[in-house]
Amino acid sequence: MTVTTAQPPGPDAHYKVPDLTGYGDVADEVKVRLFEQVKADIRFGDYLYGCYECGICVGACPSAKFYDFSPRRIAQAAAREDVDLVYQQMQEDIWECSQCFSCLRCPRGNNPGGIVTIMREVAVRNGLTSAKEALVAYSRIIYKIMSTGTQVSPDMLRPDAFPDWGPETGDVADNLELWRRALPAETMHTTTTGWAVAERTLVELFVIWMETGALDLVARVDPGLYSILQELVEERLEEEGIEL
């Protein structure tokens, strides 16, 4: 059998799909490095024992009802250490998961939802395109939670942002300040935060963001947001005389 010299045009005819997951152009060591980071998370050992593909998790999974998403495939790919598939999932699957943990019914004790949480963290830490795209509409909310300590604030309910929630949601925006003052609970008269968070509490929150490196995570996904937050946090901590 003579060896062919020139590499003929067209992919190797023996493979159904030469690049099954579609990320053949990404270097293997990148995929391996990302998967190693997923496995390095302290929780990974508790989330994955092995999968015998019974499909019980998918039966309970909301995302699987509409997306071509499957917690079983997440657990299987991780259990088989299929680095290519894990990388594809980190780019295409993980942001479809509803993180509702219905899949904790796994008779093997796996936690596919937890594996997705870890994969998302690694995707954010490494600035994967999927993470950037997933968070592009989300930066406003990250700013709110990291800078004010409450995530969803009354002033977010603007009709242009939530027309699909009906005109009554628009009324909230029209009467926001007045309706908030009509709330009997003392802490809830705010409009830019869910409730009045004490100053001291916010400073403690900033210390947590800095000490745990949570703030740095934002850097790789939304540099603009990161610089705003970093400036705000560091300024505030200096005023409090806290060095890290």
Binding site: Y52, G59, A60, A64, K65, S70
Partner: protein, 362 residues
């Protein structure tokens, strides 16, 4: 004086075969059974057909029972349970007592001398209320176990407990209470795939217009169960096998909606059923559990009696002279049960008379 008697505890197929084997060697067997009848679970739960060929269970078990009761070398004590075992291998004293709730009138403790003991106390079914998944066994009358279906099959009428009508769509859910880390039963109970397929055939024969499904991870119909049960069920009786377990059972109108994933198609599935049969696995029976503690016999992680010499010596326990067989050791089908029973019988007989010196090897 050497004893010529072996005490066999448990009157099911295992105990019966052990007693029959012991008598066959010319020694005496005292068979202790807490119920008021012999035959064990197959009789208690009124098995209809036996795997793999599905012939009626009752006559076959009766034949085994008669072979023991008719043998002069066997002595059967019904409504009796063991309360103590003293002495040492070759010279044991077994203390017996009337089982509570048995018909026979209460009488004081009795003792039996014997050279060895064979435990054949069998298994109990997994209690579906502890299932990992939401099968609603206690909520919905039309969710039953294989044993409850077997009872109906032995009376040749399969009806929906909710309305007494014959069901049109019936499904089996495999691995309920087995292969499950959350519940702690991490083992496979061996028989449920074969029994489910056999029951499916019996339903199809009884209700020709019925549609029967089996939701499974992998069909474990070992040996001849494959060609004698699985293939005929699928090919001649048109039982529908779907690869993917059911996650939850919920009411929809007067029927039940079973939900899971068709793992081959990679899509969630939701199918309406009239009757849901849970293939519940095996667990150590309370008899096995209590007796193990009583006789100081070590149990494995799952509560079954540990076979210290497994796999080549599957019947010896950590206590010399005390042997175990059948489902007391772990999940077992009838073939496993009677063959390990014969093995236990032979080992037990070894403790009745010393072997002539000449033949003993160095």
């Amino acid at each position: 004086m050497f004893s010529d008697t072996v005490v066999v505890i448990g009157g099911g197929p295992g105990g019966l075969r052990a007693a029959h084997g012991i008598a066959g060697t010319g020694n005496r067997a005292v068979l202790i059974e807490q119920r008021d009848y012999l035959g064990g679970t197959p009789v208690a739960e009124k098995y209809s057909g036996l795997t793999p060929r599905g012939e009626p269970a009752a006559p076959q078990i009766q034949h085994l029972v008669d072979s023991v009761t008719a043998d002069p070398l066997t002595e059967v004590r019904l409504g009796t349970e063991v309360v103590a075992l003293d002495g040492e291998p070759g010279a044991f004293t077994v203390t017996l007592r009337r089982a509570q709730g048995s018909g026979a009138e209460a009488v004081g403790d009795q003792t039996v001398e014997c050279g060895a003991v064979v435990i054949a106390t069998g298994f109990g079914h997994f209690d579906p209320s502890r299932a990992t998944q939401m099968y609603g066994y206690f909520e919905f009358p039309d969710v039953i176990t294989q044993a409850e279906l077997e009872l109906m099959l032995s009376e040749h009428r399969v009806l929906r407990p909710s309305n007494g009508q014959p069901p049109e769509r019936i499904c089996f859910v495999q691995c309920v209470g087995s292969r499950d880390r959350q519940i702690g039963n991490e083992y496979c109970s061996k028989v449920c795939c074969g029994v489910a397929s056999k029951e499916a055939i019996e339903i199809r024969q009884l209700l020709p217009s019925s549609k029967v499904f089996i939701f499974y991870i992998d069909m474990r119909t070992y040996g001849y169960w494959e060609n004698e049960i699985y293939w005929p069920a699928q090919e001649q009786h048109h039982v529908q096998y779907v690869k993917g377990l059911i996650t939850e059972v919920l009411p929809k109108g007067d029927r039940l909606l079973v939900r899971g994933e068709d793992t081959t198609m990679g899509r969630p599935m939701e199918v309406l059923m009239d009757l849901v049969v849970l293939s519940v696995g095996m667990e150590p029976s309370t008899g096995t559990r209590d007796l193990a503690k009583l006789l100081g016999v070590r149990q494995n992680k799952y509560g079954f009696i540990e076979a210290t010499g497994a796999p080549l010596d599957p019947v010896s326990t950590n206590r010399e002279g005390v042997f175990a067989c059948g489902a007391a050791l772990g999940p077992a089908d009838l073939e496993d049960t009677v063959s390990s029973a014969a093995g236990a019988a032979l080992k037990a007989v070894g403790y009745l008379r010393p072997r002539p010196v000449a033949t003993a090897k160095a």
